[in-house]
Amino acid sequence: MNKTILIGLDGATFKVLDPLMDDGVMPFLKRFLADGVRGELLSTPHPLTPPAWTTLMTGRNPGAHGIFDFLRAEIRPSGAFFTLNNFRDVQCETIWSIVGRAGGRSISLNFPLMAPPPSIPGSSIIPGLLSWRHLRRNIHPPSLYDELKALPGFSAAELSWDFESEKKALQHVPEEELEPWVRFHVAREHHWFTILKHLLTADPSWNLAAVIFDGVDKLQHGCWRFLDRAFLPAQPSEFELRMVELCREYFRVLDGFIREIVALAGPEAQVFIASDHGFGPTLRLFRVNAWLERNGYLKWPQGHTAREENDRRAGTTSHYVLFDWASTTAYAQSAATNGIHIRLRREDGDGGVAPEAYEGFRARLIDQLLAVRDPVTNTPFFKAILKREEVFPGPHQDKGPDLTLVPFDHGFLSVLEGEPVLSVRSMVMGTHWPEGVFMAGGPGISRGQDLERLSILDIAPTLLHSLGLEVPVDFEGRVIERAFEPAYLREHPVRVGRPTEPPRTYATTAKPGEGSDRSREEAGDDASSEDAMVLDRLRVLGYVE
């Protein structure tokens, strides 16, 4: 099996990288691209970290792999329960597993949804999206943790996620905290680089080595105004100039890590760089549940208990709000997905949408959303309203929202109460845009090509082809053949092989009617309507604005 490197740059966009390369901040990346290929990489229909990286790891869309969000709601006869998605929720085989079955060795660093880590022989897995408190117990093989602790300067706290800090990044980092916050991310990338360097050199028998540097995403969320010259004032303040330089320093350091990784990979390795999604500015804030309430689809709770709970959770930046389920037909479960769920009627009198009325109800909702106009430009606010079955084909599409909303500026929606429904942000923020990056270099890789729009679905088959493996027939993307030199492709033609294996399963004992809203409907729900109503009120999840 060949040697292949994947460097993940979470949220990377050429809108930011090109000026940095032109200004000499990322000289290695500039040379790498001059000798290799590049192209825009289109993310999942809603460009969000968990579904997008899972698509990259599995070669399947969210309707197949089942990951739509950071969080998931388990609806059971006895109630609803919110928790974080984890590896056990990924319903398709990953590339690490495919490489392992073929007798190869993978290194997987900082990928989300990889905890608890699967026991893939020969693999080294350190998951991302994990608090330091749980890092030790979620590394494969377990003995790897002692190796990490022996590395100079190792700090589990600096390596791992701090969930309060991450939530802050999506909202607003106070100016006085911005500088240490950027430096924290520089330090964190250094830790991941050090671990990768150790693993590449300690046992050089690896085949696929991959790492995600996620500070790119974090910086762009909080520091877009310092990264995009269009938003920098003509006369920047001292603070703004300092922040511009600090952000450039982050990318300068990152460029150095990429240079060293390519050197460590050796002259025979092919190196791929990819992002899960792109980035761009967001200038508006749309309160989706407030809009649904105004248009008669949703009611906030009347009782003070739930309202107080909403206030309490808004104050503590928690992840969900409550609403009056019995009087609600459509609601946004999570701001992270920019999705609207339509509540289907389960029994007479429960107030949901009758199944036979679903299509008409949804069509009317789409028409109303498409009629929303931007208060500044008076143009349509939404670029598109995506139907679930059209963008998330697969057995797990019911875990996703019925409609995915695409605002013109791709901003995340707010799920909380508030006025006005649509407002102009006081300060530009960075947000996820669909157009990410793809780059490749090394022996057998074409030179100087700018490839047409590519799909994140194409990365998994391209990596397997680079390793010399067959591409599973059930992968949804295609090998990016133009990334390879014609002579290389003639010698190494794309081979399509057996389908992927089902993911690891153990005695999950979910009974019929449990696990998802739809399956519960199909099985017939025998919970009391009162219990169901109370617990369903808890189904609203999301980030606060």
Partner: protein, 103 residues
């Protein structure tokens, strides 16, 4: 390690021992002020230094230990529409005694 239930009824003592092992393994490198043994009256947040995200991980660890994903943790972790503010080890053991043996 007790592992799967395999249809064998698990007694309270065994489940308590499992819980202590899970909690000790979770918290062994946390910088908490808790000293002494974990007892049924030990509180996860006040005594062991749990944060809300740690409860999510505890659920995963319990599910992995018993190879079960059907345990109705909402009955343990929610009261009157709200997540509980504190949880005693003994209450978690009571919950597991009831639900691990119901299949």
């Amino acid at each position: 390690m007790s592992g799967e239930t395999n249809g064998v009824k698990l007694d309270r003592e065994t489940i308590f021992r499992d819980m202590v092992q899970i909690l000790e393994n979770m918290t062994s490198d946390w910088d908490t002020s808790h000293e002494g043994e974990i007892r049924p009256e030990t509180r996860l947040i006040a005594d062991l230094g749990f944060e809300s995200i740690d409860v999510v991980q505890l659920v995963v660890d319990i599910e992995e230990r018993y190879q079960r994903r059907d345990l109705p943790f909402e009955k343990l972790l929610m009261e009157n529409d709200r997540y509980v503010d504190e949880l005693q080890v003994g209450k978690a053991v009571d919950f597991l005694v009831t639900h691990l043996n119901q299949r």
